[in-house]
Symmetry: C2
Subunit: 315 residues, 2 copies
């Protein structure tokens, strides 16, 4: 019981999840509480510190064994200086969170954004365990990305690497505008938002599809209909998958990673999504760049954020 | 005169260039001799060793000061094991060149392919000096690439990273087949070969252009005509530049490098090529990914290979 342990924190808009982690990336104990956004920034920060203390107290480990705290933040972060630059869903802006938490907890702290941290978690002790170089896609409201090089998060020159959702993949004639202001971004077709949009448009056009029967259209509605053989839903899923595979062909030509790890809510669709992604990747990638490259689902689910955040202190 | 020096070798199909380099990347002395491909592999290997001895002998430095030899090879290399896997223009195949040269010279040896080595040279003491993360394009017969991360060559999982020429950028309806077997690759439009092809097609179609007057069409013919205001040549140059800029928008979304460094024969065209590249990059790249990113010409010219090869031993 004298080994070091680490806390990884997943700071989201609704809940803060904290996990006590071993040096090898095993979750030992977890705690979860409300973020408290409505009560303002001071409360959010107080909750962060409080939940770290709580998860250690509830565990069989002593506070002295806690060697550091990592946090993954849903928002823009300045990793080097430990600042939350802008996290709209958490109500934090220009908060030097590392300095604040280090003072309150008396432990070293590191932060990064949630997509990078989830990527590190998967690369470290999830679907990428043992892999040195991999690229993680998170398919949710948008398409997030995280790049792991030599086992560590690759930040890029301005901390902006891994903006995979903004790779231009859709041909101009089919492209629509993305939230980023450009057109043709992967995110416009392969995120949950993109899938729901395509489904709603099909229903509005009056296409014959089970999707029209749903009271609310979600990405799951579309995948369920596709699994039941609905042609319209299948077409939408194939389109989302095609552009994911196309983007991976591009990323493979640049980075030649060992694996692509796909997580986030949309990735739970399984083979109906993964098979066409793999087919497209095989079609569009020059043969020497395909060798040994795997396209696999993420394994850690909602724990990736906590484990990866702890990994910030260890890796 | 007691400091260490390094030899960097640029192994091409016609000549072998060797340069004696200081630890800070300054070329101290160079030597150049024929590769000797026609005389067979044994001669090529003997020449490599001979020219290394020669460049040191001719210099004011002693053999004992030579701390290592790096070689950039025009071909496929296995960097980890120091093997030239396949270098068709040099007539070498499956040659464990590192072991051979280490035995003959009694010095440590490292190898890599020529595009990576040139990228390292530029990143180290050329257009990227002081930059940690950059992407180098070499515009010649093909479009080569080299990726520098944290000041070192990034190899990828199978040594295939930086195959930028095979990013799919041309829309399907305009795409032609690439040597790699796929369609739409950057290399089909933005290499010297691609530019010459587009020019020949324009001439064959009977378009009114100065290019038609040339006895032999080269990339330089096209750029000279464009500079003289020839509309057809301008269109071709803009097309080559557009797809370069488009590919950089994609690479920026993935890697967020500090700079793109463009070398190779085609890059000598100057502003007429660089200005439309920069315009396209600005149009197609989300604003946060543009911040501080520079698109600059390579500076070392033909010396990049020698300097970068020496850098293999130092960086």
């Amino acid at each position: 019981m004298s080994e070091n342990v680490y806390v990884g924190m997943d700071l989201g808009g609704t809940t803060i999840k904290v996990g006590l982690c071993s040096e090898s990336g095993v979750l030992l104990h977890t705690y979860e509480g409300p973020t408290g956004v409505a009560e303002g920034p001071e409360t959010v920060i107080a909750n962060m510190a409080e939940y770290v203390r709580r998860v250690v107290e509830e565990s069989p480990y002593a506070w002295e064994q806690l060697a550091g705290v990592g946090a993954g933040v849903a928002g823009f972060t300045n990793v080097r200086d430990g600042i939350i630059v802008m996290a709209p869903n958490i109500g934090l802006k220009d908060v030097p969170i590392r300095a604040i938490l280090e003072e309150r907890l008396g432990k070293p702290v590191k932060i990064d954004n949630d997509a990078n941290v989830a990527a590190l978690g998967e690369a470290w002790s999830g679907a990428g365990a043992g892999v040195e170089n991999c690229v993680c896609y998170t398919l949710g409201t948008g398409v997030g990305g995280g790049i792991i090089i030599n086992g560590r998060i690759y930040q890029g020159s301005a901390g902006m690497a891994g903006e995979i959702g903004h790779i231009d993949v859709v041909p101009d004639l089919e492209a629509i505008q993305c939230g980023c202001g450009k057109t043709g971004c992967l995110e416009t077709v392969s995120s949950a938002t993109g899938i729901i949009r395509m489904a709603k448009e099909a229903v509005e056009r009056g296409e014959r599809t089970f999707i029209a029967d749903a009271s609310e259209i979600t990405a799951k509605t579309v995948f369920d209909a596709a699994k039941a053989g609905d042609e319209v839903a299948l077409r939408i899923v194939k389109r989302a998958a095609f552009y994911l595979g196309k983007s991976m062909a591009t990323v493979a030509a640049v980075l030649n990673p060992q694996s692509f790890i796909i997580g986030g809510g949309v990735s739970k669709a399984g083979d109906i999504l993964f098979n066409p992604i793999r087919e497209t990747f095989a079609q569009l990638t020059p043969a020497p760049l395909q060798g040994g490259v795997q396209i696999v689902p993420a394994m850690l689910g909602n724990d990736a954020g906590m484990i990866g955040a702890a990994g910030l202190m260890i890796r």
